[in-house]
């Protein structure tokens, strides 16, 4: 009797509260990483920027293919080699109703350098500006110390705040939601740390108005949890579908999936600095008398021994694009001629023999295990492939926080890294990863292999002082071709970004990995 009453209670409560459908004009999105700050200038962290992209605008922005397009600036050009002029959009209003002018731009660029205690400041992208000059309310000029073609790319990372509202605002004011006024498609409503961000449509947005009146970004870093939230209807869309579940999601008639090649490339650095590399020995475990990776043939052999298609189908469930490039097509600097190295086991063995390693050698491969999609499984697969070619390979993986410190001290022989060309052109990969290490020039900061090719350096330097886009792209393509033919690093694949939505919601997938509510549409 009691039990029956209990059952009745359950059923009635299910009928009344079990199915709470959200309002049609609301969108709830499950995002996959924690959001640490609401101050868009505090730290250059991807998840934080993902929220800022909703509320604030930039002078220049990237389209879904990571090509530069106008945002708050209508056009930009160089007046002389060291002066850039930006024409600003007229009639743009901040969320509080005030007008957007050049003074807000100057203020925002200056604020970036004044944030206390930032562990990852945006100053990296403003330091090229030697001085700025407001010509009139809608024209602004930036002087650079030397010709600097990447200024528009750099400025695509800086969010513009209202000078009037944010003049004395601290990071804590932003976290408390007191001063979050921008010009973006959504207005800030509420931030519950570790839980959610609430947004409302900006009815006076100058561009295409979003389809949603209210948006909730739920913070769901745990993969099964995020997926369960979508399956149970708690959210309408999620980013980063866990790879093991992809097939099931695709088969589910109530869900849609969206994919796009990411700007992120996964690759391996090979130690080309030390005369004896720390983690390679001969087959008996004794030190080698030379560093095999200094020999181009060994580097080629490694690249040939890796079956990128097998990794794509077995490890990545199809969510990777095997590559021989640094950036995917159609990004600025992509080289159509650089195709992924073909799997050629015999060729690899032959090259190893020619290089004086007919029996191969022993190697330990290092990789992070919590940073990139399936990073530890990829390392395992690559190790087995190398072992088949004669390079008996062990794998050591560790969390990124531990890994990064060791790898940047050049302690490893073969180390995995992922790189996203976040400003939308290939020099943002070429300069840190492949240029000869020169800290004073800001080059080679992540060149863990210490690959060095003076010919490539010269071409890259020329590209970096060439303002003309066509000419510069040709130079960047030449630099990339030189370095990649030389196997300066061993490219593996570009990740493929994924989104899943409930039927009836469509997304325009993006190369830069951002999940933007304004890009979701009801069907």
């Amino acid at each position: 009797m009691q039990f029956r009453r209990l059952t009745a209670f359950f059923i009635s409560s299910v009928l009344t509260i079990g199915f709470t459908f959200s309002h049609a004009a609301d969108l709830r999105v499950g995002v996959g990483a924690d959001i640490t700050s609401m101050d868009p200038h505090f730290v250059n962290l991807f998840p934080n920027n993902g929220v800022a992209e909703h509320i604030y605008s930039k002078l220049v922005t990237l389209d879904s293919d990571s090509r530069l397009i106008p945002d708050l600036a209508e056009s930009w050009k160089t007046i002389d080699p060291t002066t850039w002029e930006f024409k600003l959009r007229k009639g743009v209003k901040f969320h509080d109703g005030s007008d957007f002018t050049a003074a807000d731009v100057v203020f925002s660029l200056e604020r970036v350098g004044k944030i206390p205690n930032s562990p990852g400041p945006f100053t990296v992208y403003t330091k090229a500006i030697a001085s700025s000059e407001v010509v009139d309310n809608y024209t602004i000029r930036f002087k650079t110390a030397a010709p600097y073609p990447l200024l528009p790319n750099d400025l695509s990372t800086i969010y513009i705040l209202s000078k009037k509202v944010a003049a004395n605002a601290t990071t804590e004011d932003f976290n408390a939601g007191k001063v979050n006024i921008g010009t973006g498609p959504f207005k800030f409503v509420e931030f519950k740390r570790g839980d959610r961000v609430e947004l409302a449509r900006n009815e006076t947005y100058w561009g295409k108005k979003p389809a949603w009146e209210r948006v909730t970004l739920r913070i769901l870093p745990n993969d099964p949890t995020r997926l369960a939230a979508l399956l149970s209807g708690d959210v309408d869309a999620i980013e980063n579908i866990p790879t093991p579940d992809l097939a099931k999601i695709k088969a589910n008639p109530n869900l849609s999936t969206f994919t796009k090649t990411s700007h992120r490339i996964i690759f391996f650095h090979l130690d080309q600095l030390h005369d004896q590399t720390p983690f390679a020995t001969d087959k008996d475990g004794k030190d080698l008398d030379k560093n095999p990776f200094k020999d181009l043939r060994v580097r080629q052999a490694i690249s040939k021994a890796i079956d990128r298609d097998a990794i794509n189908s077995r490890v990545m469930e199809g969510l990777s694009l095997p590559t021989g490039n640094l950036v995917p097509s159609p990004m600025f600097g992509h080289v159509p001629g650089l195709t992924p190295e073909k799997y050629d086991l015999e060729g690899a063995k032959k090259l190893l023999a020619e290089a004086g390693f007919p029996n191969g050698f022993n190697l330990t491969l290092h990789a992070p295990n919590n940073r990139y999609v399936n990073d530890d499984q990829i390392a395992q697969a690559v190790a087995q492939m190398l072992t088949r070619a004669g390079i008996t390979t062990k794998v050591v993986t560790m969390p990124m926080g531990v890994y990064l410190g060791h790898a940047s001290k050049l302690e490893y022989s073969m180390a995995m890294l992922g790189w996203g060309a976040s400003t939308g052109e290939s020099s943002s990969a070429l300069r840190p990863l492949l240029a000869t290490y020169a800290p004073e020039k800001g080059l080679g900061s992540f060149n863990w292999g210490r690959y060095s090719n003076p010919a490539m350096d010269t071409v890259l330097a020329k590209a970096m002082s060439t303002i003309d886009d066509k000419e510069r792209e040709a130079l960047l393509q030449r630099a990339a071709t030189l370095a990649m033919k030389d196997i300066g690093l061993v490219p593996l694949h570009h990740q493929i970004n994924t989104w899943a939505t409930r039927k009836g919601v469509v997304y325009t997938p993006r190369t830069d990995e951002y999940t933007l509510s304004q890009e979701f549409q009801p069907k």
Binding site: R218, T225, L231
Partner: protein, 325 residues
């Protein structure tokens, strides 16, 4: 009484000092958080400049000394990742974790003690055996798996309860709580149950063992001979005697529920301190890690003290023994 409290406090100070030193050295050895957080396009100079600004370029002992000085000023440092004071960050997350922990312990005790009593009294009947068998599952099934099964079953398949997150909160005595609204309770049920299961099994087993032992004791036989009702024997005499070990365990387990609700919080996206700790460890956010662990040490000390005080209330021997000295 006062001496007990004072002695406990001085002991815990030592533990705090030791623990903070260990965490400091540990996180220091792992690496520089700036490497993780700075823009990929940053030059080594940029990294050096930021490292300096955060004081991370100094040797370990200088950083630790500075930390200790600041602690005496009541400042546990600013979070690197978030920029706000670490303790403020923790305190803002504490109500959510406490709410979950209290709900879980309440569930475990309210359900566990009666079930344990029944299992102890009727250990040979099918009901006693069923309870004991069920408690084995509570013990042996891993929390994260049970949590996922809960979500799959109650949220995805049946659609009865929300799959994750915390419901709307209302302010009570300055603390945001979610258990006062229906929506909040619906969000709370699954994670609290998930967290309670292991403790529930533990309490059932403890109560059962205690009951069985007590039933053999002379005082129970005398009570029976005296003609007292079964309800009074169990409800007053047996229960009071077996409560001492149970209170101890509930107390200690309450501490561990707060400290280790991490798994449940991650799976149910519950915005509590456990989730914050995981994020802080991944981001090498040392001030938050240190502050979190300090807070947990303080919790354990306070809980142990409370347990001791409750002993005195429950057990006359403790009360009179203390004053006889």
């Amino acid at each position: 009484m006062l001496t007990i409290i004072l002695r406990r406090m001085s002991e815990s100070l030592f533990v705090l000092l030791l623990m903070s030193l260990l965490v400091f050295a540990g996180v220091y050895a792992i690496g520089n958080p700036v490497d993780l957080l700075i823009s990929p396009d940053a030059t080594p100079q940029d990294i050096e400049q930021v490292t300096k600004a955060l004081g991370l370029d100094k040797p370990l002992w200088v950083q630790y000394g500075y930390f200790i000085v600041q602690v005496f000023r009541g400042d546990l440092g600013h979070s690197f990742l978030v920029g706000t004071p670490a303790i403020e960050l923790l305190l803002s997350k504490m109500p959510a974790t406490m709410e979950l922990a209290v709900a879980a312990m309440l569930m475990a005790s309210i359900v566990g003690i009666p079930l344990g009593l029944i299992a102890g009294l009727k250990s040979d009947s099918w009901i006693g055996k069923t309870i004991m068998t069920a408690s084995i599952f509570g013990f042996s099934l891993p929390t994260f798996w049970v949590g996922l099964v809960f979500i799959m079953f109650f949220s995805v398949e049946l659609g009865w309860l929300p799959s994750s997150g915390r419901g709307p909160t209302s302010i009570v005595l300055g603390i945001p709580v979610s258990f006062l609204s229906w929506e909040g309770l619906r969000h709370l049920l699954l994670p609290a149950l998930n967290l309670a299961l292991f403790k529930l099994a533990l309490i059932i087993r403890l109560t059962r063992a205690g009951t069985q032992e007590a039933l053999m004791q002379d005082y129970v036989r005398f009570a029976r001979a005296k003609g007292l009702s079964q309800t009074r024997i169990i409800g007053v005499h047996v229960l009071k005697n077996i409560l001492i070990p149970i209170v101890t365990v509930i107390g200690l387990e309450f501490g561990s529920v707060i400290a280790f609700s991490i798994v449940t919080e991650s799976i149910f996206a519950w915005p509590g301190m456990g989730k914050l700790l995981i994020d802080s460890i991944n981001g090498l956010d040392r001030p938050v890690i240190v502050a979190y662990l300090c807070l947990i040490v303080v919790f354990f000390v306070v809980i142990n003290l409370a347990v001791d005080l409750i002993y005195a209330l429950l057990d006359p021997r403790v009360r009179f023994g203390a004053s006889a000295k």
